[in-house]
Structure formats: C-alpha cells, structure tokens
C-alpha cells in the first residue's frame, strides 16, 4: 500500500511538473489542434486534383448524367463546373486546374457511333497540364462513370446490328431485358482483416483526414522522446544524484508513462471526436501496448544516444523514418526490417488486424530484452 501511495505521489509530482512545461503543453495542444484543423480543412472543397467539367451543351442529357455522377462521387478529386469552354481552358493554362474534361453536345449520339465501332469519333476532349499518375487515375474514374452508358450502348448496338441486321427493337424491350439481368450495388464490399470491424465508414473519409491516426501516434512518440530528454536534463542537473545508477530505470519509466498517459488520453479523445474511434476495448488495449512499446523504444534510444543533444538531433530522423515507413500517409512495401523496428508500425496496423497486436506484444518483449542488455552493458562500462 505504501508502495502504491509512493507511486501515486511520484505520478502526481511528475504530472505537476510536466504540465508546467510550456513545450509539453504545446505538444498536448497539438493533438486537439491537429484534429480540429484537419476536420475544418477536410470539410472545405479540396482534392488531390482539380478538374474542370465543361459541357458544350449543359442541357445535354447524357453529359449531364455523367457530370452529376462525378459530382456525387467526388472521392479525391475536386471538380469545378464551367460552361464556357475558353474559360475552362484558361483555368488549366493558369494552373488553377490540373485538367479539363470537355463533354460534347448530343453525347448519346456520339456514344452510339463510338460503340458501333467508329473509334475515330472521340467522345471527349481532355486537356491536361502534365501527365502523371493522379491524372491517369482520374481518367480511369471518368471512364468508370461513363461505363454504364457505354455498356448499354454496346449491348443495344450488338442486338440491333449483329443479331437483327440493323432493325432496332423497341427501346422498352431492350431495357426490359437489360434490367432483368442487372446486378445492383457495388461488386466489392470493403472489409478489414478483423472481421468484426466495419470498413464501410472509412470509405467516405477525406484524404486530408486519413493520416490523422498516424499523426497522432507520432505525437505520442514525440511526447515519449520529450520525456526522455526531460529525464536526461534532470539527470544532468543532479536530480537523481542520490539514486544509485541501477535504480534510476524506474524513474525513467515514470517520466515516460506520465508524459505518454496524458498524450494517450488526449489522442483517444481526439479519435473519438474525429469519428475514427473504433471499439473501446480495441482502442484502449492497443493504446496501452503502444505506450509500453514506445516507452521502451525511447529508453533504448536514450541509452544509445546518451546525451540530450544527440537524442534531440535524432528526433527529426526518427520522426521522418516513422512518417515514411509507418503507414501514416503511405504504405511502403519495401524496407520491412526498418519498419519492424518502429512502434507506430505495429500500432497503426493493429487497429483492424489482431495479427499485428500479437506482433506488438512480441516486439515489446524483444525491446525489453534489448533494453535490459544495454543497461547491463552500460553499467559494466561505468
């Protein structure tokens, strides 16, 4: 009981001290700021690409349907509808838009000619500033939006010209047969490796908020590294002068846990507010393990660096490595061995895949062993 009270007292004293440090408060403030900022930004019109949609005739039925469909399923593209062709062109020239898609008048007629085999009758005119993967993707998306009309046109042309030698059956009969076989809905249903988790909500997420969990995880690591630096600073200032070298470890972890528990709670609240909180048990369990892994990781980093300056200098390097190699923005398939060394890699993957949770457990054990060996080596040296 006495030990527990002592531990609580230590926790409260360290908390009081940490919460008086402006930079630590700034770090904690970064969490709600990040969430609010990202949410505000994601609610405004934005896109990886800005594409101008220009109909030669805004009344044209087919092109209007396609434009409507594109606007309804924006995804990662920001569309601007401009009726004036020259203005649309100017938007691309000036760099305000990445591309412009020009839809012709009487598009249905042209589509029918195209599906009848007249490939020279180009359906659309596309103007792009430069060719890149994102624009290639956008063209695929455009084709996807048009395809339901293309497929029906192919179907009608085939029956009219190949089966009935140019005698067109009534549109009603064609439609009736087509609709009778129609498979409604999406072909694919999104899911995570954990079968209990629902992936459908995430599909509608903005690409600007997708890195949120990853960024928040990095803030926790940063808090851990900051706590390690505070510990080194205090050690240098003689705060632990009365504590034998082999007894200082528990103080280090007290610093780590105090800082990271605050950050962890702030992150969980932020996840809840931003709507990407999954199930409470999963979030708490994975966060606890992540904090443990990060604190041991910081302990090893502290032992390897030895000095505040070196640890501080290693922060941008470690953070950039985590930023790139852990699935924050990208999923890098190469350099797996470096990824396996970084705590956020396990945490971010474990949310929807329990396999990585077990891996994180093994990772923690491995880190603890390495930390212990390093501790012994340092003590022997001293």
């Amino acid at each position: 009981m006495n030990g527990f009270r002592k531990m609580l007292l230590c926790y409260f004293m360290l908390s009081k001290r940490l919460l008086k440090k402006n930079t630590f408060l700034l770090l904690l403030c970064a969490i709600p700021l990040l969430v609010v900022g990202m949410q505000v930004v994601s609610k405004q019109d934005s896109g990886m690409l800005t594409i101008v949609l220009c109909q030669e005739n805004p009344e044209d039925s087919l092109s209007s349907k396609i434009v409507e469909d594109l606007l309804r399923n924006r995804g990662i593209i920001n569309y601007q509808v401009i009726d004036d062709g020259e203005e649309a062109y100017r938007e691309v020239v000036s760099g305000r838009a990445d591309a412009a898609w020009f839809f012709p008048d009487e598009m249905q007629k042209q589509l029918d000619m195209y599906t009848a085999g007249n490939y020279d009758a180009k359906l659309l005119h596309i103007v792009e500033r430069e060719d890149n993967v994102a624009l290639q993707l956008s063209r695929e998306k455009l084709y996807g939006s048009m395809y339901s009309h293309v497929s029906y046109s192919i179907y009608r042309n085939y029956i009219t010209y190949e089966l009935l030698d140019g005698v067109a059956p009534s549109e009603d009969i064609l439609l009736e047969n087509f609709e009778a076989a129609r498979v409604e809905g999406d072909l694919f249903e999104f899911a995570y490796a954990n079968e209990k988790d629902d992936a459908s909500e995430a599909v509608g997420e903005s690409y600007l908020t997708t890195p949120l969990r990853g960024m928040l995880a990095l803030v926790i690591v940063l808090c851990g590294l900051a706590a390690a630096m505070y510990y080194l600073q205090d050690e240098r200032n003689g705060v632990f002068a009365r504590v034998p070298l082999d007894g200082r470890k528990k103080y280090f972890y007290a610093y780590e846990f105090t800082a990271m528990i605050y950050a962890g709670i702030a992150v969980l609240i932020a996840l809840l507010c931003s709507g990407i909180f999954t199930r409470a048990i999963v979030e708490f369990r994975n966060m606890a393990l992540f904090i443990l892994a990060t604190s041991v990781f910081c302990s090893i980093a502290t032992k390897l660096c030895g000095k505040i300056q070196r640890l501080g200098t290693s922060i941008p390097i470690l953070m950039l490595l985590m930023f790139v190699l852990c699935p924050v923005f990208f999923e890098v398939k190469s350099m797996k061995w470096i990824q396996y060394l970084l705590p956020p890699f396990y945490y971010l993957n474990s949310i929807h895949n329990d396999f990585f949770l077990y891996r994180m457990l093994v990772y923690c054990v491995a880190l603890i062993v390495v930390d212990f060996v390093l501790e012994k080596l340092i003590q022997t040296k001293q």
């Binding site: 990886m48 800005t50 659309l124 792009e128 695929e140 076989a181 072909l187 997708t210 941008p316 699935p327």
Partner: protein
C-alpha cells in the same frame, strides 16, 4: 565594427567546431528526405517499371465473365495502375497480407457464379489491413470502384443480351453471341483510352510535380536542420550577451554575428546535400523536367539562388532559439514549427491539394513564400515579389530575435 568582427570570428570558430557533428546529422537527414522522395516518386511514377499492386483472389470465379474480365485486365491491359491478381487460399492471403507482400485480397463467396447468373448481387469482399485508409488505399479504392463498374456493367449487358436471346427464340446462337459480345466488351475495355482525345499542354511555364517536391523538400530540410543548431544557440543564461552589452556591443550586433555564423553553417550543410544530389543525378541520369536541357551545373545555380531562403529560415530559427532557454524546449519547439509550417506550406502535400482557405494563407507564411520562390526559380519566372517578402521576413525575424534577447538580458539581472 571591430567588436563585431571579433565576435563574428569567435562565432565562426564555434561553427567550425560543430561542423563535423552537424554534417553527420545533415547526412542522416538527407537520407531520410531522400527516402520520402523515393516513396513519392514511386507513387507518382508513370513508368511501366512501377511496382505492381498485388491483390489476392480467394475463391473460384472461373465460371463467370468476371473471371474472364479479371484475367483480361491482368494479362492484356496496358493500364499503368497494374494490379496483379493472384489466386490463393484464404489462409495464404491473410498471411501474405500480414507480412505486407499483398496489398489486399478479394474473397469470392461460394455460389457467386450461380448468383451472378441469376442476376443477384453477391458482393466480393475486398480485405485490406489498413488501420485507417491512407492516401494510397484511397487511390486503390477509387480503382477498385472503377474495376467494379467495368466488370458489373459488362456482365449486366451480357446477361441482358442472353435474356433477349432466350425471350426471342434465338437460343441456338446463345453461346456464339455471348462469346462475340464478351470479346466486344473486352475490346472496348482494353481500348478505353480511345474514348477521349488527350491534349497534354506541357507548358514550359508549369512547375512539374517533381520540381514542386524539390522546392518543398528543400524547405523541409532547412526547417528540420535547425534542430542541429539547438546545442549551439540555445542559451542557458545570458551572461555573455549581458557582458557584451556592457562593453558596448549592442544586441543587434551580437545577433548579426550569430546569424552570419549560423547561416554559414546552414549553407555549408545545404551545399553538402546539393553535392550529394548532383552525384546521384550524375550516376542515375535523373533530372527534373525543368532541367532536361541543362547540365548538373544548374543544381549549383539553384543552390546559390536558394540561399535567401536559407537566410530567412536561419533568422526564424534564431528567433525560436531566443524564445526558449532550455535544450528540450528548444528542440521540441523547432520540431513542431518545422512540421506545422512544412505541412501548411505544402511541403508534404502539394498546396493545390488543400482547400482555398489554406491556399490563401500559404503564400503569406515565410515557408510558403520560400516554396513559391523555389518554384518560380525553377520555372525561370520573376521572383521579385517573393524576394521582397523573404527580405521582409528576414528583417522581421532578426528584429524580433534581437528584441527577445534584449528582454532576456534585462531579465537576467
């Protein structure tokens, strides 16, 4: 003036002593930024060499047109978003997904083919491992939606035609017509680029994405590099500035001396990075679209012209050093400023990805001005406005840093 010269000389000596450690940190930082660049370039590569996205296929779809479609996409499609479908057992798919050798896998439910024949939708399950959807996953999802549309709409048309044949007593040509229509769809899907006429402007005045990232990463590097300067410039006490003040060397002169030395240190580190990039460009033959007709020398020209940006970031970092009095706070403050300014200035995502409100703020931020200045340099456009803004920021940061120091000396009584 003599006092300034002596103080500057002393600062230069400090810089010289710190140089080896700073250069090591520069190399490591360059390595990390090169890593990001590589990832970005792979993501943006439109070459055929691009790594294929592998998707596992669990279940049997061989009897459906969907199966034919997937097979056709896999073997015949020249799309650069090359997706490789690999048939495998679910256990193997899960294992490969966990080990990162598979991006996702698709589970084809039992009875899928029969349901498709009946015109029922029995969705395929697309399983990914993501903790949350990342940009890459979102692009994948867009692709999956397009593929879904291509396959289901083709299938709808084929089954519609089959219905028509059965309902109109033409069952004798059922299989022949099915095959013909199927091949026609395949023809259209594979030749889908012929549906549009593509005009790529290749305007000489446009900044390429690679050029944009060069500017963004240069600014990001300079911002993060500031952490290396923390041990040199964060002062625990202000005894020396106080003494210098009492000896008649005012704080502006002190700050100017420190600024020049710090700038030399940053410029040297930056030069090292440029030399590394030049060597890499020489070895690989890689260049920016903006520099296609130029030699390696242009990189050094770019370096010289980017020095005003380095100067502004130096001054900003000196101000941050003055705002803190202990190492830990200084390092964290530098890092947080680097990240937030880098993000808002478009160093991570191109600024065109952001909403208009951020796009309006970006040109006003010092780092935003720096990114835009770099962009104009690459496009050989006028940099006069950016230069004036950079100069304004330089003076502002130096004045603020001087004022901060004055306040600190006064508080150091």
């Amino acid at each position: 003036m003599t006092r300034f010269r002596i103080y500057l000389l002393a600062q230069m000596k400090r810089v010289k002593k710190a140089l080896p450690a700073v250069l090591i940190m520069t190399l490591l930082l360059t390595g990390c930024i090169a890593l990001i660049s590589k990832v970005m370039l792979i993501a943006d590569s439109s070459s055929e060499k691009k790594q294929k996205v592998q998707i596992g296929l669990v279940g049997d779809i061989s009897g459906s047109y969907l199966g034919f479609g997937i097979s056709a996409l896999q073997h015949l499609d020249s799309s650069r978003f090359a997706i490789e479908f690999i048939e495998m057992e679910e256990e193997e798919a899960r294992d490969r997904l966990n080990h990162g050798t598979l991006s996702a896998f698709v589970i084809v439910p039992e009875g899928f083919v029969e349901a498709a024949v009946r015109g029922e939708n029995m969705p395929l399950t697309y399983v990914s491992t993501s903790g949350s959807l990342r940009l890459g996953s979102m692009i994948m999802n867009e692709l999956v939606n397009t593929i879904s549309s291509l396959l289901t709409e083709s299938q709808n048309a084929i089954y519609g035609m089959q219905n028509y044949l059965v309902n109109n007593g033409m069952s004798d040509i059922y299989w022949q017509a099915t095959d013909e229509l199927y091949l026609r769809f395949l023809d259209f899907i594979l030749g889908r680029t012929s549906v549009y006429e593509l005009e790529i402007m290749c305007l000489s005045g446009n900044l390429s994405m690679i050029g944009y990232y060069l500017c963004g990463f240069t600014v990001l590097f300079l911002l993060l590099w500031g952490i290396a300067g923390s041990p040199l410039y964060i002062k625990k006490d202000h005894a020396l500035p106080a003494l210098l003040s009492s000896k008649g060397q005012n704080t502006l002169s002190q700050m100017a001396g420190e600024f020049v030395a710090y700038f030399v240190l940053m410029a040297t580190s930056f030069l090292l990075v440029i030399v590394l990039v030049a060597v890499a460009m020489g070895l690989t033959g890689f260049t920016l679209p903006e520099w296609e007709r130029e030699g390696i020398g242009i990189l050094f020209g770019f370096y010289v012209k980017m020095l005003p940006v380095a100067a502004v970031i130096c001054a900003m970092q000196l101000l941050l050093f003055e705002l803190t009095s202990d190492m830990v706070s200084g390092i964290l403050l530098q890092f947080l400023c680097a990240l937030s300014l880098g993000y808002l200035s478009g160093c991570f995502y191109p600024i065109s990805f952001f909403p208009e409100s951020i796009q309006m703020v970006q040109p006003l931020l010092p780092t935003g001005v720096a990114v835009n200045y770099g962009g104009n340099l690459l496009m050989e456009e006028s940099t006069a406005i950016e230069m004036v803004l950079l100069l304004g920021y330089l003076l502002l940061f130096l004045v603020l840093a001087t004022a901060m120091r004055k306040r600190k000396i006064a508080g150091n009584r």
